[in-house]
Point group: C2
Chain length 210, copies 2
DNA sequence: GTCTATAAGGTGATAGAC
DNA sequence: GTCTATCACCTTATAGAC
């Protein structure tokens, strides 16, 4: 996943600055996604990045600035799978492909998923502007596309918004609730993702086929 | 939701002790569910309970003891909706009824849902024993029931474990990701739960009907 | 750019009066 | 049982040497 840091006031100029900035954001992703904003400490991030704590704060002015840069850099990529759902494709296949892309994201980028999950569960204090902005806009746009498919009889009637919520929840569940799933299934590595793939394709295909 | 505190070593004896213990657990639920274990402070819990911090620690020996008592008291109730799914009912209606009970829990007890969500997202450090114990046992039992229904041709073939995961994720989503849903839908109060009810009933009915 | 030292404030827990 | 006062520790952030 591409990380595009936005540092207010301090842009990375030299090669070493850029490299350290990326190292910090990678470490911050690891720590924030595991412990949440409040639970994460600069000590943990510094250690994970292989830097001293003051050096961390040389690159970012504060803990919250690291968190903000991380989320800003990830938000665009996080929404890409939904953006790729196009109105001119085969409706059922477009939605199924979106489901599978989203599941693949949960498998490949579970830390990113948990970063957002931590934030939203606690009331989304730092990203509500983005939820009510670009996320809301994108969802409304795609809900209109789905609504059009329903009116054309291409997919079975349903509430487009809640369909999207169901796709988010079922797929992200495999990242966000990974600990619970592993406690129940005791899978070897990612073996259960193949089952999940088949299950979710079946679930939404039965839901959508007219 | 019934809270049955288990305080290691200190059982509430007098009426006032019992009342204070319950007040503390109610306050702790409010604070822990909103900020997670690490993010919550004893100051916040004490203030919410209307007690001083040392008085809080007169009733519970430590912060972690409060958290543990809270989870222990809620775990049984949290699993009841699944326990009520009986092998001798009409299969499709049994599963649908379970979905709707679970959604009702998300609407009535969102704090309880977020308490568990916070815990699991961060790797379930304090409840993994319960996940691998009573939760795993219950899920295996009910998965066997669903498997039986499939073999009898009463419901359409699917993976019982992942079906249960889909039910959990779609219903709890309305509690755990409430902030995101409200940011997108801007519903008045709980108005969107009626839509969710209809949507999820449709989703799982189409999935399960042979 | 990176470090050691440290300030400044928050946080879990205890002591002891009442 | 409840309180004030306080300790010991942790955490964010800054100062200043190199």
């Amino acid at each position: 996943m591409r990380i595009e840091p936005k540092m207010p006031g301090r842009q990375p100029r030299t090669r070493i600055q850029k490299k350290n900035t990326e190292t910090i954001l990678e470490a911050a992703l690891e720590v924030f996604s595991q412990h949440g904003f409040r639970g994460a400490t600069l000590d943990q991030i510094a250690k994970a990045a292989g830097l001293s704590k003051p050096n961390l704060l040389y690159y970012f002015p504060s803990k919250v600035a690291i968190h903000r840069a991380l989320i800003d850099g990830l938000m665009k990529t996080w929404l890409d799978p939904l953006r790729e759902m196009k109105a001119d494709g085969d409706p059922v296949e477009e939605v199924i492909a979106y489901v599978l892309r989203k599941l693949e994201m949960a498998r490949e980028f579970p830390r990113e998923s948990r970063l957002f999950a931590n934030e939203i569960v606690q009331g989304a204090p730092n990203i509500m502007d983005k939820i009510e902005g670009e996320l809301k806009n994108l969802v409304e746009e795609k809900a209109a596309v789905i609504e059009g498919w329903i009116e054309q009889g291409k997919i079975a009637p349903c509430n487009p918004y809640h369909l999207i919520f169901s796709i988010w929840s079922t797929t992200q569940h495999y990242a966000d609730f990974d600990a619970q799933i592993r406690g129940i299934l005791h899978p070897e590595g990612d073996a259960h993702f193949e089952q999940a793939r088949h299950h979710l394709e079946t679930l939404f295909r039965r839901m959508l086929t007219p």
